[in-house]
Symmetry: C2
Subunit: 261 residues, 2 copies
Amino acid sequence: MSDHDYAVETIYGLSTPSIQALIAAGRASQPALLKVGIFVCPGYMPMDINGAQSVFTIAGAEIYFIWKRRELVEGYIGWPTMPTMTFDECPDDLDVLVTGMVPPEVIEDPEVIRFFARAGQKAKYVIGTCYGSLMLGTAGLLKGRRATSNSNVVPMLPDVGAVAVGGSDVVIDDTIYTSGPATGSFDASLLVLKALRGEELAALVELAIEYDPRPPFRTGSPQLAGPEMTAISQSMTAPLNRQYHEAAKRGYARYQQMIQD
Amino acid sequence: MSDHDYAVETIYGLSTPSIQALIAAGRASQPALLKVGIFVCPGYMPMDINGAQSVFTIAGAEIYFIWKRRELVEGYIGWPTMPTMTFDECPDDLDVLVTGMVPPEVIEDPEVIRFFARAGQKAKYVIGTCYGSLMLGTAGLLKGRRATSNSNVVPMLPDVGAVAVGGSDVVIDDTIYTSGPATGSFDASLLVLKALRGEELAALVELAIEYDPRPPFRTGSPQLAGPEMTAISQSMTAPLNRQYHEAAKRGYARYQQMIQD
């Protein structure tokens, strides 16, 4: 038996009959499918959007991977991903717009800033995970809002107009949900699902994916890791963080210029 | 500025100069790059392999997405992924071989079983997350070994030769690490990284990704969710689980036939 005996063509690539049946069963009971747009780009961080893709997939949503063009991009690293929707094709009635860490080149790209400024204002909810908060910031979406990110980025948030909040919890300000990296994407997405469809469904999805983490070393924040390990970690990412800080300031200045024009 | 002003071509698609610099910096200090093979296929579950891809990426590894052919497949759902390595190209000296949930059609595919039986015995460590444990099982890798999976699959594990262990913790038997779904992939990967490179680096990676989860509803296991919610969840996945159970038994019988021939 070759896989072509069981694989079926989808608009996204090859899938299987069992997975297609699973998708159909999950959607049969839906009043209206949730529309979830996930931003991807060259060098995007799969970890930061995976919680959203998983949680909303299990909840029966339609998932769109949005980029300028339908052209293969590399998730950091080695995760070749094909966008399924362009900026121009993005519907105005997204239920959720999601971004995780994207490279500094991208958060100051005027075309991307313009996309987020438009789509982010029209979407019912917006999720920014890790450096993704800077992406929302340079598009003006955090102006005057409470927001969080990873511990290195939190102090940069005021430079994109936000009120910075530290401490690893998801920060909710009206329809904008921001979180730290890694599983912040799961936490924020489950809370957005609660806002959209109620706690009963959201809690059921948390069970369906058996989201019951067991971090082995309990070093997942500067507070948990202590000053010595935190200093080592910060020294490793310092050059990257300087790039992000400069790009965020330039991007935010560009956005402000855009809205004046 | 268009993204083509900053995007660079990689063998995996487009990336950016900042991400390429980040990869180079992470690898500069490595004694020898870890080689991590991640199994993908039509209908594979991105959530179950994301922890491995993230943890080993941050640790500076080379990441290979392995499938029969370099042909776009759909991750469940809407995550179009391009495999970067075929079964034939897979090196014999993998440090880690990883699989998450793959459809029942795949866990009983003789060509896939043959690949896992060979590559799984040669790799230093093997990680199976969620239904991925059944994939390892039908390839004979769990024979006489303690193993776990999601709560629905745990009772099926003896039918692929394993000693079943419940309870959400990562189960380690020699070089085989199995876990439940979702963040089980992070937990198992951090523990394998500890085995390969020591606890100091593994704990530093846990900090670098700020893996400090905040499950919002505390319903991530049958024990946490209680009998009523668990019954609802199980009734929704019962048809799928029957398919998995039958496919696993057929696949394991095929494996046993293979090694007799």
